[in-house]
C-alpha cells in the first residue's frame, strides 16, 4: 500500500485540524479538512474509518486519527496522525492544569462554551447531511439510523448500549445473500 500523502504534510494537516476543532463536533472538522477541502479521502472511506473508530474500544477521536492516518500513510501515518491530534491538545491542557493548581485559574465556561457550540452547529449539520447521503442508501439503512437517532437522542439511552443492541440487527439485515 503506497502512501497517499507525505508524512510531514499529514502531520501538518492533522495537527492544524486538531488544534482548530473547538466546541464539539470534532469529526466534522476532519471531514471538512480531508474530504471536502482536499482530495485525500472519499466520503465512503471516511464513514468506514469513522465506523471502525467508534466500534473499537478507546476514545473515538484518537481512534479516528489513527484509522485515517493508516489509510493515508500506513502504520507510520497512523502513529504520527494520532500524535499530531493528541500532543498539541495535551500540552495546552497541561498548561491550563498547571495554571489551575498553581495560579488559581478557574474555567469560566458557560458563555465561551455556548458561543463555540453555536458556531459549530452549522458545520455538524452540513457534515451529517453529506454523510447520511453516503451511508444511508436504502430503507434498511434509513430504519437503522432512525432507530439509533431516536434511542440516543430523544430517549437518552446510553450510546454503547444502543450500538450493542442495534449492530447485530443491522448486520442481519445486510447479511450477504447468494445472488446479490
Amino acid at each position: 500500500m503506497s502512501d497517499r500523502v507525505r508524512l510531514s504534510r499529514l502531520v501538518q494537516v492533522f495537527a492544524w485540524t486538531g488544534l482548530t476543532s473547538l466546541g464539539g463536533g470534532r469529526t466534522a472538522y476532519f471531514y471538512d479538512a480531508l474530504v471536502m477541502r482536499r482530495p485525500w479521502i472519499t466520503s465512503r472511506e471516511f464513514i468506514q474509518d469513522l465506523t471502525i473508530s467508534q466500534l473499537l474500544p478507546g476514545p473515538s477521536f484518537s481512534n479516528l486519527g489513527v484509522a485515517l492516518g493508516v489509510r493515508l500513510a500506513g502504520g507510520r501515518g497512523g502513529a504520527w496522525g494520532a500524535l499530531a491530534i493528541l500532543v498539541p491538545g495535551a500540552l495546552i491542557l497541561l498548561a491550563l492544569t498547571w495554571l489551575y493548581f498553581h495560579v488559581g485559574f478557574t474555567p469560566k465556561t458557560t458563555s465561551a462554551m455556548h458561543g463555540m457550540g453555536a458556531a459549530v452547529v452549522g458545520l455538524v449539520f452540513v457534515t451529517t447531511g453529506r454523510m447520511i447521503r453516503t451511508a444511508v442508501r436504502d430503507l434498511r439503512g434509513l430504519l437503522i439510523s432512525a432507530a439509533i437517532f431516536l434511542l440516543v437522542g430523544p430517549l437518552h439511552v446510553n450510546t454503547a448500549l444502543v450500538i450493542v443492541l442495534v449492530v447485530p440487527v443491522s448486520l442481519w439485515l445486510y447479511r450477504p445473500r447468494s445472488g446479490s
Binding site: 476514545p59 473515538s60 489513527v66 493508516v70 491530534i85 439510523s145 440516543v152 454503547a160 439485515l173 450477504p176
Partner: protein, 131 residues
Amino acid sequence: MILDLARLTWTFLWLSLICVGGGLGVIPELQRQVVDRYHWVTAREFLDGYTLSQLTPGPTMLVCVFVGYRAHGLPGAVLATAAMFLPTAIITAVITQHWGLLRDRPWARAAERALACTTGPAPPSPRWPPA
C-alpha cells in the same frame, strides 16, 4: 508512590478499553474511580478538569492529563495519557491495516454497509454532566 502510579496507569488503561462509541459514556465511571475510589481529585476539581478538557482542542478524554497531574505531577500526567490512548491506538492501527485486506470479501462489504448506517448519522451523545 510507585504503587499508586501503577494503579493510576491501570485505571486509565481499563477505562480506555470500555470506551465504546465515543468517550462520554465512560465519564461517570471515570469520576467514580478517580474521585470516590482513589481520591486523586475532588468532585469540584474533576468538574473543572472536565470543563478545561472541553475547552481544549483534542479529545475530551484528555481529562486524564488533569487527573494524572493532580495525582503524581508530570509522570502521572504522562502515564495516564499513555494508558488512555496508546493501547487502543495500537488496536485500531492493527485492525484498520488488516481490514484493508479483507475488504473485498462479501461478508466484509455487507458488514461495512450494515455498520455505516449505525454510526454515520448518530447524533452526539447526551451531554455529561447535565447543565
